[in-house]
C-alpha cells in the first residue's frame, strides 16, 4: 500500500509515455476510428460530460445502486457471519448450503432480477447485495474465529447476554478484519454495479459507456472508461486511508477468500 502514498517518478514514465505515443500516433495517422480516440479528445469529451452534469449524474446513480446493495448484502452477510462464527453447530449445519450457493456467479442472477424487478434500481442493488453477501459472511466468520478465546471466556464469566456479548466483545474484537472485508466488498459492489449497467440496466456509468460506444463517440466512451477506473481507485484509496486512520497498526491484516 506504500506505493499508493509515495510517488516514484520512474513509475510515471510508462503511463505518461503511453499517452504521448498514443496522441502522436493518432495525430500522425489522422485517426478515423469508431473505437479509439486520441487522449486529448478523451480528455475534452470527459471535461464536457463533467461540465454538463451528465457524467456526475450517472456517477451518482451507479454509486447509489452500488452502496444500497452493499448496505443490504454486507449487513446480512455480517450478521450471518457473526452467528455462524459464534455458534459452531449453526456453522456446520449451514455449511453445505453456503458452499453450494456461494459459487453461483452473480451475473447468472441478472436475468432473474430482470424478470422479477424489470429495469431500475431494485434489480441492480439486489444483484450487488447477493455479490457482497458472501465475502462479508466468509470473512466475518473467519474474523470471529480469530478472536482471542479468552475474551469470549471473559464474556461468559461476566454472564453477558447474547446482545451484549456481540456488541461489547465480538464486534470490537473482530472489527479490524471485518473492515478489511468491507474494503473488499466496496470494490466488488462497484464492479458488479458497472457490470449490471453494461449488460442490461439502462442507467449509470456502465450504460453511458455502452451508449457512447454504440453512438460512435469513442472519445466519450473512453472518457467514461477512464472515469470508472479513477472512481474505483479513489474509493479504494479512501477505504485504505480510513482503515489506517481508524485502526492504526491493527489494520495490517490481509483478506483471503
Amino acid at each position: 500500500m506504500n506505493a499508493l502514498m509515495r510517488i516514484d517518478p520512474r513509475g510515471m514514465i510508462l503511463p505518461v509515455g503511453l499517452i504521448i505515443v498514443a496522441e502522436a500516433a493518432a495525430r500522425l495517422t489522422n485517426l478515423q476510428s469508431d473505437a479509439l480516440a486520441p487522449p486529448s479528445d478523451i480528455l475534452l469529451s470527459g471535461i464536457k460530460a463533467l461540465a454538463d452534469g451528465s457524467m456526475l449524474y450517472a456517477t451518482w446513480q451507479t454509486l447509489a445502486n452500488a452502496f444500497a446493495g452493499l448496505a443490504i448484502g454486507f449487513s446480512l452477510g455480517m450478521a450471518l457471519g457473526i452467528l455462524m462464527g459464534l455458534f459452531r453447530p449453526l456453522n456446520r449445519l449451514l455449511e453445505v448450503t453456503v458452499e453450494v450457493l456461494r459459487p453461483i456467479p452473480s451475473v447468472a442472477l441478472l436475468p432473474v432480477a430482470l424478470l422479477v424487478y424489470g429495469f431500475g434500481h431494485r434489480m441492480e442493488f439486489s444483484i450487488v447485495a447477493f455479490a457482497t453477501l458472501w465475502p462479508a459472511l466468509i470473512l466475518t466468520r473467519s474474523a470471529i474465529a480469530g478472536i482471542e478465546p479468552r475474551l469470549l471466556e471473559v464474556s461468559r464469566a461476566l454472564q453477558l447476554s447474547l446482545g451484549a456479548r456481540i456488541f461489547k466483545i465480538v464486534i470490537p474484537a473482530a472489527l479490524p478484519r471485518i473492515f478489511v472485508a468491507l474494503r473488499l466488498a466496496v470494490g466488488i459492489s462497484l464492479i458488479v454495479a458497472v457490470t449490471v449497467e453494461v449488460t442490461t440496466n439502462p442507467m449509470g456509468l456502465g450504460y453511458k459507456m455502452m451508449e457512447a460506444s454504440q453512438g460512435l463517440q469513442p472519445g466519450l466512451a473512453l472518457a467514461y472508461l477512464v472515469w470508472v477506473g479513477m472512481l474505483g481507485w479513489a474509493v479504494n484509496g479512501i477505504m485504505v486511508l480510513a482503515q489506517k486512520h481508524l485502526f492504526g497498526a491493527a489494520a495490517n491484516v490481509e483478506a483471503r477468500l
Binding site: L14, P15, R92, A108, V194, S213, A221, L222, G229
Partner: protein
C-alpha cells in the same frame, strides 16, 4: 472424530434439502408467482429436458470451453508477464504503478471498447475473459516473486545461476502459493465474463440462454441455466482447490 464429521456433513445436507423443500412449498402454495419463481420440480424438469435433448448440454459445454480457454490464456500471459516484472527490481519500479492504476478497472467496463474494436465476435468474448482474468494472475505472480525470501536470491547469486534458472528453480516454485490463489480468483472472473460476453454478444452459451429465457418469461429454463452455472462455479472451484492442495502438499508436511 471422522464419524462425527460425517454426521455433521449429513445434517448439513439435510438442512440444504430442507431449504429446497421450502422452495417447493413456496411454489406449491403460490406464495410467489410461478412466473418469477418456478418450483424446483419444474426447474429440474427443464434441466433434464434440456440435457436429454442436448440443447442445454451444447450451450453448457460452449460456456465451459470459453471459460477455460480465456482462463488458460490469462493464466499463461499473467504468469509470463508477472515473472518478467516480478523478477526485476527495475521493471517493478517502472511498470508497477501503471498496474496499480489499471487494477481497480472492472473488466466488464472494457466490454464496450472490446465490442467497438472486435465486433460481436468470439474473439471479443475471449479477449474480454483473458483481459479480466489477467489481472489477478499478474498481480499474484508479481507479489509472489517480490515476496521470495531474499536469501534465496543471494544463494542463487553465489551459485552463479542464470536469470532463467533463478526464475524456474527458485522464484516460480516459491511463489506457487500466490500463483495458485491467483488462478483460483482468475477462474471465477473467467466464468463471470464468459456469461457476460455471451449475454452481450449473443454467442451461443448459457449466458445467452438464461437471458433469452428471462425475456420470454420461461422461468423454468432460466432457473435450469442458473443451476448449471452454479454447478459450474462449484465444481471448477472444487477441482482447483484440490489441485492447489495437491501442488502445495509440501507445505503441510513442514
Amino acid at each position: 472424530m471422522k464419524v462425527e464429521r460425517l454426521l455433521w456433513l449429513g445434517a448439513s445436507v439435510l438442512v440444504f434439502a430442507g431449504f429446497i423443500y421450502f422452495w417447493q412449498l413456496i411454489s406449491d402454495y403460490r406464495w410467489v408467482s410461478p412466473v418469477f419463481l418456478p418450483g424446483p420440480d419444474r426447474a429440474w424438469q427443464a434441466l433434464v429436458r434440456g440435457i436429454t435433448t442436448g440443447d442445454l448440454l451444447v450451450r453448457w459445454t460452449a460456456t465451459i470451453e470459453r471459460m477455460i480457454y480465456g482462463w488458460l490464456l490469462a493464466s499463461l500471459a499473467g504468469i509470463c508477464l508477472g515473472a518478467l516484472i516480478g523478477s526485476s527490481e527495475r521493471a517493478r519500479a517502472y511498470i508497477g504503478p501503471t498496474l496499480e492504476l489499471m487494477r481497480p478497472l472492472p473488466a466488464s467496463a472494457v466490454v464496450p471498447l472490446a465490442i467497438a474494436l472486435l465486433g460481436l465476435s468470439e474473439t471479443m468474448v475471449l479477449a474480454v475473459i483473458a483481459f479480466g482474468g489477467l489481472w489477478p494472475m499478474l498481480l499474484a505472480t508479481v507479489h509472489g516473486f517480490s515476496a521470495v525470501e531474499p536469501r534465496l536470491y543471494e544463494v542463487s547469486r553465489a551459485l552463479g545461476l542464470s536469470r532463467t534458472a533463478v526464475i524456474f528453480k527458485i522464484a516460480l516454485p516459491s511463489s506457487m502459493p500466490d500463483i495458485l490463489a491467483g488462478m483460483r480468483l482468475s477462474l471465477t472472473v473467467a466464468l463471470i465474463l464468459a456469461v457476460i460476453g455471451e449475454m452481450l454478444a449473443s454467442r451461443d452459451g448459457l449466458g445467452s440462454h438464461i437471458m433469452l429465457a428471462a425475456r420470454a418469461f420461461r422461468s423454468p429454463d432460466l432457473f435450469a441455466g442458473v443451476i448449471l452455472l452454479g454447478v459450474t462455479g462449484l465444481v471448477s472451484a472444487m477441482l482447483l482447490s484440490w489441485f492447489e492442495s495437491w501442488m502445495l502438499r509440501w507445505r503441510e508436511s513442514r
